[in-house]
Subunit: 267 residues, 2 copies
């Protein structure tokens, strides 16, 4: 007996959540995973709370039908706006990516430390990170900055171009010498721009990759609930709401993930 073989569900607005999938694969190689990317309605980051909640519940229900044992909401926007609503309808434990990132950042920040949060317009407008950070540690100083062009830049596969540095500079150069103790990448696309962001903010800046932080918390939660699968060769199954070919192609090009056949579920 290698433990609970039911899959973990991971969902995102598109392919950004694949950074979480990759971290889960690395830390929990035995787990089976069902990934759902809502590619028909991507991006979520510029949409209203009502829309994000409705879309998130639809995707979650689809994953419950696949008999998952645990759900990771791998989209910061959905985690900011829809987590409670998903938990209300979920038969299994649900985690988001905000609180793991918050805990990792607070571990780096001294008393009265300074934390910079980057994210989509919707995530920043929700103030989910500020509220969570200050809820745990009212002494820290938090600045949030929306970087809406980062997602399309990643989706275009331009992370390595000089242009990426210019876009990052446009958003972040003003923060370079402000002595932040931690910078949270509050969008699952952003780890793909980590080097670029480091180049703009300086080599000493400590970056919290919410994908990796989320995978660590998932491992703890699965172990605590006694539903870990300690095998070695977990399987993955990918679903999208549109354009499976494009999803496969970008997963391979940007993240070196071979998806195999991608299923399509239309809403």
């Amino acid at each position: 007996m290698k433990g609970d073989k039911r899959p973990i569900g991971i969902f995102d607005s598109g392919l950004g959540g694949l950074t979480v999938y990759k971290a889960v694969r690395e830390l929990l190689p035995g787990e089976n995973v069902v990934y759902f990317g809502d590619t028909a309605r991507v991006p979520y980051g510029t949409k209203s709370p009502g829309a994000v909640i409705a879309f998130s519940k639809e995707i979650s229900r689809c994953l419950f039908d696949r008999k998952i044992k645990f759900l990771i909401v791998a989209c910061n926007t959905a985690s900011s706006l829809a987590l409670e609503e998903i938990r209300r309808i979920s038969p299994v434990p649900v985690m988001g990516v905000i609180s793991p990132g918050v805990d990792a950042a607070l571990a780096m920040a001294p008393r009265r430390g300074r934390i910079l949060v980057t994210g989509t317009s919707a995530t920043v407008a929700s103030r989910a990170y500020s509220l969570a950070l200050l809820g745990e540690r009212p002494d820290v100083h938090v600045v949030e900055k929306a970087c809406p062009l980062f997602v399309p830049l990643v989706e275009e596969g331009w992370c390595g171009k000089p242009l990426a540095v210019l876009v990052a500079r446009e958003y972040l150069a003003a923060f370079k010498n402000k002595k932040f103790d931690a910078v949270i990448l509050g969008c699952t696309h952003y780890p793909l721009l980590k080097k670029t962001i480091r180049r703009v903010l300086g080599p000493r800046v400590r970056i919290v990759d919410s994908a990796m932080a989320a995978a660590r918390v998932a491992r703890q939660a699965l172990a605590a609930a006694g539903i870990l699968n300690s095998g070695r060769f977990g399987k993955a199954f990918f679903m999208v709401s549109d354009a499976p070919g494009r999803f496969s192609e970008l997963a391979l090009r940007l993240l070196k993930i071979k998806t195999g056949e991608v299923a399509v579920k239309r809403f």
Copy 2:
């Protein structure tokens, strides 16, 4: 009697179609207009034909319910992929933005002329412009180039930044000295980047703005059908599928359009 007072319907995936709305206002000041932006599912340009067709039919039905007399599909992607499907369910005449742009470009191109088409990934992948251009004039030489970052750049309000020139250069610098007789802006967002595109392609390049071309064709079609409204003060009514506040704010900032109250219709 000032003619037919029923409104013209204009639809787009988001706010790009407002360039068509503006051109219609200018050429047909007496017409009442209902504009629908599918802001819950924008952008269409990276989505599959099946999704674009389904979304387009939903929006069109919603405009038919508002008793429109004429429908302008002001989204190049929807015009490329869904025009026939919309016509099949429409009780009123329907026009897209592809064929007006094609005719305007062909008027500029001599025999064996060269035409460059810029557009979203979906529009370029559909080859709608190439097929239409070559269908009318098999002698011309057509090159199509997808510029997926232009739409988010416009939506960020960065059209005037030096960065916009760099993005345009990334896509278009290779075409600078290729002696094109006409360049089609095959996306309704792109007229907002017209100056930038001219800077990259050179001052002599002749740019076809499909928004203005579409408004001219609409005027002819309305006159021919005897349903023109020759009054002077047409009214506008705006609808979106999500985030009306953001739509209003961007309409004002990018295009100086005062939308007034924006209605929301969720799907």
